[in-house]
Structure formats: C-alpha cells, structure tokens
C-alpha cells in the first residue's frame, strides 16, 4: 500500500523538476510549426498605430521628416517590421526624409536596409533632393537638444563627406523650425522622454516614435497628447504593414509567436500542479 502512496508524489516532484532542456526543445518545435506551415491568425489594428500612420499620410507633400534611427543588431527582428513599413510609407507619400543614426550599429543597419529592403530609387527618389543621410552621432538627450538647435554643429557633412550646404535638401534646414515631423526610434524605454523634453515641449514639433514591445506601455501615456502615434515592437509593426498595405515579415512572426509561448504556459501549469500536488500530498499523510 505504501507504494501506492508514494507513487503520485514522485510524479509531482518530477513535474516540478523537469530538465529545462525539455522546455527549450518544446518551445523551438512549437515556433517552427507555423514557419513551415503559415496559419494566418488575424490581427487587429490598434489606435496608436492608426495615429502613427495618419501622422505621416496627413502631412502635405514635400514636408520634411527627420528620422532619428537607433536600430540595433540584437533587436533587428523586433524593429524591422516597423521601420521598414514606416520608410515605405514615407517614400510613398512624397516626403523629404533626413536619416540620422544614433547608435553604433544603426549606421550599418541603415546602410543595409535602405537600398535592399526599401529602395528610394524605386520610388523615384533622388539622394540629396528627396532624402539625405547624415551619418552617426551618439545623440543622447544632450545631443538631441543641440541637434534641434543647430544641425550643422553636429553634422557638418553628410555620410558621404559632402558639406551640408552643398546638398539641396539641407540648404535651408539647420534646426527644428523646418522639421515637420520627427520619427524617433529608440531602444531604452525612458528615451522617449528625450523627444518630449527636447522637441515636443520646447518647440511643439510633431513626433512619432517606435520602440520595442517592452517599451510600449511607457510610450502609451504620451499618446495622443504629446506624440501623434507609436509602434511598439514587431506586433504593431505588423499592424502598420496591414494598414499601409505593405506586407512584410511581420505576419509570420506573429503566428510563430502565438505558438512559441504555448510550451512555457504548459510548463508553468506543470510547475503549479507539482507545487500543489506536493503540498496537499503532504497534508494527506
């Protein structure tokens, strides 16, 4: 009889003490299934994404948009859907775009994606007239403050070494006054305050931001009063893809995420069954 009593307890203990590699393996398998066989679960477009999209499309043609880009190699999957869709929208709507990289990896990512994923030439855009790349500067809060006041103080030349005065697009632009919309992409959640403090509050510049999923909640309180819209992570990047009718890689990501989390949920249930099993098992003795 005692054997019967002991047996369930061993199961409880096992359930709560499984090798983590089972969890890792199960998660990987679950993530791979939708990649091989896409399922196409539906996505709803949120308010903040609509605001983001409208802020761009409502600008009169020829308006100047400044893109402060801090893409990071480690977060490329999270960011790519969002910024690629945004750049496409920018070029589709005949806006003038100034690209600035604010993190070490960003310049390289910009170099890579602008041309491959989004090719300005295919939209009929010319470098120097419709868009310009200023290069990399570590624009933290202090940097952004001085950038807003005097662009040439930080970038005397563009990324190819041409002085800004010789670039048609940059001729009249040297500070916040000529920038109609600021698009800030950032990594650290509190960086959104830089835009609020250095652009929106002092100059009333219109701003949209994109960040990682984790930073979404920190951006939410600023919408719609201070910022016109925001995209948090690949989830909302997918929403923008749908909204702007530029399908990208966001959809597959969403499917695979749906499945990938299931393994963890199952294991958390295991853990709790084991915990309560042990607890009540002891009580029963």
């Amino acid at each position: 009889m005692s054997g019967n009593k002991k047996e369930p307890r061993i199961i409880w203990e096992k359930l709560g003490d499984l090798d983590y590699r089972w969890l890792y393996g199960l998660s990987i398998i679950l993530m791979v299934i939708p990649i091989i066989q896409p399922i196409g679960l539906p996505t709803q477009v949120g308010e903040a994404t609509k605001g983001f999209y409208n802020a761009i499309v409502n600008l009169p043609p020829g308006s100047v948009v400044c893109v402060l880009f801090s893409g990071s190699a480690g977060y490329a999957d999270e960011q790519e859907a969002g910024f690629v869709a945004t750049w496409k929208v920018l070029f589709e709507h005949n806006l003038k775009v100034i690209f600035v990289s604010t993190a070490v990896d960003s310049e390289i990512i910009l170099n890579n994606e602008l041309g491959k994923m989004v090719n300005p030439e295919s939209y009929g855009k010319k470098y120097g007239i419709d868009y310009v790349r200023l290069g990399y500067a570590p624009l933290d809060e202090v940097g952004q403050a001085s950038f807003a006041q005097n662009i040439r103080g930080i970038f005397a030349k563009d990324v190819y070494g041409t002085p800004l005065d010789e670039i048609p697009l940059m001729k009249d632009i040297n500070n916040y006054q000529k920038i109609d919309l600021l698009y800030f992409q950032y990594l650290s959640c509190t960086d959104i305050e830089w835009v609020i403090r250095q652009w929106v509050v002092p100059y009333g510049t219109k701003a949209i931001v994109s960040c990682t999923t984790a930073c979404g909640p920190m951006a939410a309180p600023y919408y719609p009063k201070q910022i016109q819209g925001f995209i948090a992570g690949s989830g909302q990047g997918t929403e923008l893809e749908i909204l702007s009718k530029n399908p990208g890689r966001g959809a597959v990501l969403s499917d695979s995420k749906n499945f990938g989390i299931l393994g963890l949920l199952l294991f958390i249930v295991f853990g709790n069954i084991s915990y309560f099993g042990k607890k009540f098992g002891k009580r029963g003795e």
Binding site: R21, M31, I35, G74, A214, S256
Partner: protein
C-alpha cells in the same frame, strides 16, 4: 543567390547553432564560436572607437582645436595602469570622468527621477476627468508611497510600516512580472526571427533551392 550570399548564410547558421548549442550543454563547438565572436566584437568595438577618436579629436586637433589634446592625453594616461609604478596616474582620468558623471547624475536625478515623479503622482489624481481615472490615480499613489516604505532600512518592518511595506511589495511584484513579460515577448520575437532565418533562408533557399 550569389555564392557570397550563400556563404554568408552558411557562416550565419554556423554561429547561430553554435550559440544555441550552449543551451544543450557546454561543448567545443560553442567555445569555438564564442572565441571567434570575442575577437570579432573587440575588433568592431575598437574600429568604431578609433573612428570616433579620429573624427572628434585628431582631425579637429590638426585643424587647430588644440584644447582637444587634453582629453586625448587623459585617455592615453589610462594605459599607465599597466605600469605598476605609475598606475596611480590613471586615477586622474577616472577622476575627471567621475566628477563630470556625478554632476550630470545629480542634476538629472533631481528633476527627472524625484520631482517629476512626485509631480506625476499628484497630477494623475487631480487632472483626472472621471471616477475611473481618479481611482487609478489613487491606486498609483498608494503604490508609490507603500513601495517607498518598503525601502526603509532604519526601522524594523512591524506595525503600520510592516503593513505598508507588505502592500508595497505586492505592487513591486506586479511591476516585476510586467517587466518580465515585456522582455519575454521581445526575446521571443528575436528567437522566432532566427528560426525563420534557418527554416526559410537556410533550409528552403540554400539547401532545397526553393525560391
């Protein structure tokens, strides 16, 4: 795909699997990948920083901004750490940095992390427009105050302080859970991204030749 692209994919997959293999157990393949990345990253870091030195120090110095020679020399002084007899000289450099850092820290912290947070707590309640938002504001205020009391060190957590600290702990735990989930989803996306790369690019395009 041209041959360079194919090679790129192969190299990428080699390193991705090397990193993932560390989850299975320690092995030579993982170590090899790790050592390769160590060299590559240090080279990348050095290249980016050398560019910085060139652009913001050496070129301006050569053009007449002589003052920038001071930080350049301060930077070189760091290397005296390697000479035991003069190691203390490197302290000058760190002293300048810590001095500047502390100044920046104090001026930034006062407003951003103390005054503004207190302000937001008050304003959240009194700028609220309906009962629901007022209630939310009150909950935030309770959370803030009780969480602060959790970090009181000079009194034992008993009585009113004990209850307050306990409530604070619950708020803090919810906050920790929420932070966990935000990051979890971010990492999940990254993992899915790599798997998409392996399945769609490596297996389908390179191995099976499907466009």
């Amino acid at each position: 795909m041209d041959s360079w692209e194919v090679l790129g994919v192969l190299v990428g997959v080699f390193f991705i699997i090397s990193v993932l293999s560390m989850l299975w157990k320690d092995n030579l393949y993982f170590r090899l990948g790790q050592q390769a990345i160590l060299g590559a990253t240090i080279a990348h870091t050095i290249l980016m920083n050398m560019k910085n030195v060139l652009n913001i120090a050496l070129i301006p110095i050569s053009k007449g901004t002589i003052i920038l020679i001071v930080p350049f020399i301060l930077g070189l002084m760091i290397y005296l750490r390697l000479v035991p007899k003069y190691a203390w000289i490197s302290k000058y450099t760190t002293s300048v940095m810590i001095g500047v850092g502390t100044g920046v820290m104090i001026s930034g912290t006062l407003r951003g992390q103390i005054i503004d947070q207190v302000k937001a707590t008050v304003v959240d309640i009194f700028s609220a427009t309906n009962t629901y938002t007022v209630l939310n504001g009150v909950i935030i205020a309770i959370g803030t105050v009780t969480a602060i009391t959790f970090w009181i060190f000079t009194r034992e957590h008993k009585g009113v302080l004990g209850i307050s600290a306990k409530i604070g702990r619950i708020f803090l735990m919810i906050s920790l859970g929420a932070n966990w989930s935000g990051e979890l989803i971010l990492y999940l996306t990254a993992m899915v991204g790599r798997l998409i790369f392996i399945v769609n690019i490596f297996i389908k395009s390179v191995l099976l030749g499907i466009a």
